[in-house]
Symmetry: C2
Subunit: 266 residues, 2 copies
């Protein structure tokens, strides 16, 4: 383990312990810089197989970083001493598609058949974009990324089906080309854009009215660039209405020990 | 040397010998499939240093594949038994920026101070696009690629200066993203696009009126994708008016023994 990885690991664990203690229950953007942060979906084992098949068939919107053992709240492959029941600042509990509870600890809900899916998040590739000198508009604006439901249907599996959700970042054509190169290196966190420039082709009528998140200004010399979005599995789960599903609350991600740079395929 | 490289070598040499014999004096598109074809510029040694500096500063429009020894018509690094005086189907001879002669052999013009520059050509990356299933419009139309002078100034070096010329290929947004990935692998043959989608930013007023080549149809669901073009050095040389410059005639390229696949950086 080299110095940087070790630094990352300790930072990730330190943040998880701080969250576990109850000392922090906010959004995780900016915490443990360089560490991979993950979306979370927890499902009963009876549905987990279909969900994993769904993810496998739709790797761009649903890039699964790891799959926990049924009933095991620990995922040592992505975090030392990680406890999925306590280490996320804020959870959302869904029953039959309805949001029934928001809480900072799910120990009272834990069951022997629950399977946790940490899923890649755009924070990882946004860090790579910013390090390359590319402005990420919603970060510059201090707002949430604008997201849109599209007319692209995910490949269904079992009960899981629904449209792909995309996130949008406006960029100059030059930055858009560079962003394709950079994000192509990160297939496990959504990878290359799925679309550039013609939102009508995705069924998006008005970029100023995102389905999730906040609108951002787009310059006359810019193109909207669209990536498959980790909200897709949450939207699909909401539509599919499983008896129980637990997710992170928006922006309150799972901080792992993985390093963003280690996700680069090239 | 493996079987494929050997096949390529023999095919390249066979085509060069056929051209040298005078049996073929046409356009080289489609000859020796898989072999790298090159643009050609030949300059007196007194200007060659500045030209190489110019190319080094502008690698996207002017990717030099090899530099011959002054006065040596052979370039063994890119072709067995290659003779730059005879192995191109048709040459153009420029004196002080004026086209003074078109011929199929330049032996009568050869001098001890001439330096040959084979320069990468879009044929190489177009082959990779087509192999990936992407339509290259001007090839589908059986016409020349449309090319445009832009408002992007090349970095000057010595007497060499001028605007970047770009070629344009219309594509669906999905194919445009894939084309960025594919052509990024080929930095020695123009590499990734320099622009997508907003030709006005390049100073291009009407895509239907290219400065060189032929216009191609662009669908409503397509974006124009622009690559730095090997016509740039020729346009720069024409503008710079050196006492002597010899180039290939349009479409009549130098067939090398290099394999397109061997140019891939990844």
């Amino acid at each position: 383990m080299n110095a940087i990885t070790d630094l990352g690991s300790r930072t990730g664990l330190a943040e998880r312990l701080r969250i576990r203690s109850g000392a922090f229950a906010g959004q995780t953007s900016g915490l443990a810089p360089g560490n991979v942060q993950a979306n979370l979906a927890i499902l009963p084992a009876a549905l987990a197989g279909d969900f994993l098949r769904f993810a496998h068939a739709n790797p761009k919107p649903c890039p699964v970083l790891a799959v926990a053992e049924p009933g095991n709240p620990h995922i040592p492959a992505i975090g030392r001493d990680l406890d999925i029941r306590t280490d996320i600042p804020r959870y959302r509990v869904w029953r039959h598609g309805e949001l029934v509870e928001e809480c900072t600890d799910i120990s009272h809900l834990w069951r022997d058949d629950l399977v946790s899916f940490p899923i890649g998040c755009s924070f990882s590739f946004e860090e790579a974009l910013i390090e390359d000198g590319i402005e990420v508009r919603h970060i510059a604006c201090g707002s949430n990324v604008p997201m849109y439901r599209t007319n692209i249907a995910c490949t269904p599996a079992g009960i899981f089906r629904g449209p792909m959700v995309v996130s949008m970042r406006p960029m100059s054509p030059r930055d858009a080309i560079r962003a394709v190169q950079i994000t192509s290196r990160f297939p496990s966190v959504h990878g290359a854009p799925v679309h550039i420039g013609l939102p009508g082709l995705l069924g998006i009528k008005d970029l100023d009215k995102p389905d999730y998140g906040d609108p951002v200004p787009i310059g006359a010399n810019e193109l909207p660039v669209f990536w498959a979005c980790g909200v897709t599995p949450q939207a699909v789960i909401a539509e599919t209405k499983p008896e129980l599903c637990i997710t992170h609350a928006p922006g309150c991600m799972l901080i792992t020990d993985l390093r963003n740079s280690n996700l680069a395929a090239l």
